[in-house]
Symmetry: C2
Subunit: 152 residues, 2 copies
Amino acid sequence: MTQPDVLRQIGTIARALDAISNVEFQALALTKGQYLYLVRICEQPGIITEHLAQQLRVDRTTANRAVQKLVTQGLIEKHAAKINRKNKELFPTATGLARYPQLKRENTYSNQVALADLSIDEAHQLAALLAKVSERVTADWTTVKQGGHRPY
Amino acid sequence: MTQPDVLRQIGTIARALDAISNVEFQALALTKGQYLYLVRICEQPGIITEHLAQQLRVDRTTANRAVQKLVTQGLIEKHAAKINRKNKELFPTATGLARYPQLKRENTYSNQVALADLSIDEAHQLAALLAKVSERVTADWTTVKQGGHRPY
DNA sequence: ATTATTTTGCTGTACTTGCAATAAAAATAT
DNA sequence: ATATTTTTATTGCAAGTACAGCAAAATAAT
């Protein structure tokens, strides 16, 4: 009874879901990956790019460029924080916020599809197991992103 | 008792794991994503690019370019199939095959880290649940990639 | 057998991704 | 208070990703 592989499964599922979203959101004039950022900014108005990158587990510079593009497209706005002028807080514009329901609907649908063959109980088990996996993997991600080495 | 979100969890975990692998495989002179293809070609010598793309849930052209680069780097070779001259079968070179144990070791370690807080039983449950998720998501991926629309 | 369709490989173009490096503001240390 | 370190934003490269579209071989249909 050895440990089964879950890495590959997680990778393929994630790529498939991301590809689906990217294709479908072309109808909303969103290019690859943009939906990720827009959704989070709508849900957490005032968030800064750095925290967005950490949440999404994306490179800081990648997040920065994605955010810049959303600004250019008029979907979000940057406002220098009052207390901390270094921080630029991100807020959806009216246009950006108008996209949110559509993004959410698609995401909810994909989630339903993903869980279609699972009972409600199994779905909650899966979520709980993934939470544990996420914690461990995130710790290593932080280490490696900061230049640390892993022992293997 | 509603359906919990698993999409985001899966996405963040996948990005974190991919980022870790990409950073660590820089030491093997592999650039972003290359490890994915090399590992599979080592494990399934003779596979064609099209099937590789389908397995990985990656765009055909992306897989093609990744494969081309592995050839240029001398890590794999393309051979026209005897029975079907259209198909180009992929094989690792001696150099490519020599990298495999290192790739495998890293992957195994990451998998161990991911499953560190799970019992063996839970790990198998997770794998089983992911298999079900994968099946459903893949079906939609195929549909959407072929230009189909989903009802939502 | 001939035509139509599917499969596979490939290229042009446009975009995203991310490492390295810089600057500036803020937080911490002395 | 001043110096040091951390945090955040940003840009210059260099590379991956993927849609659209083409060509050739193979398969299916008639």
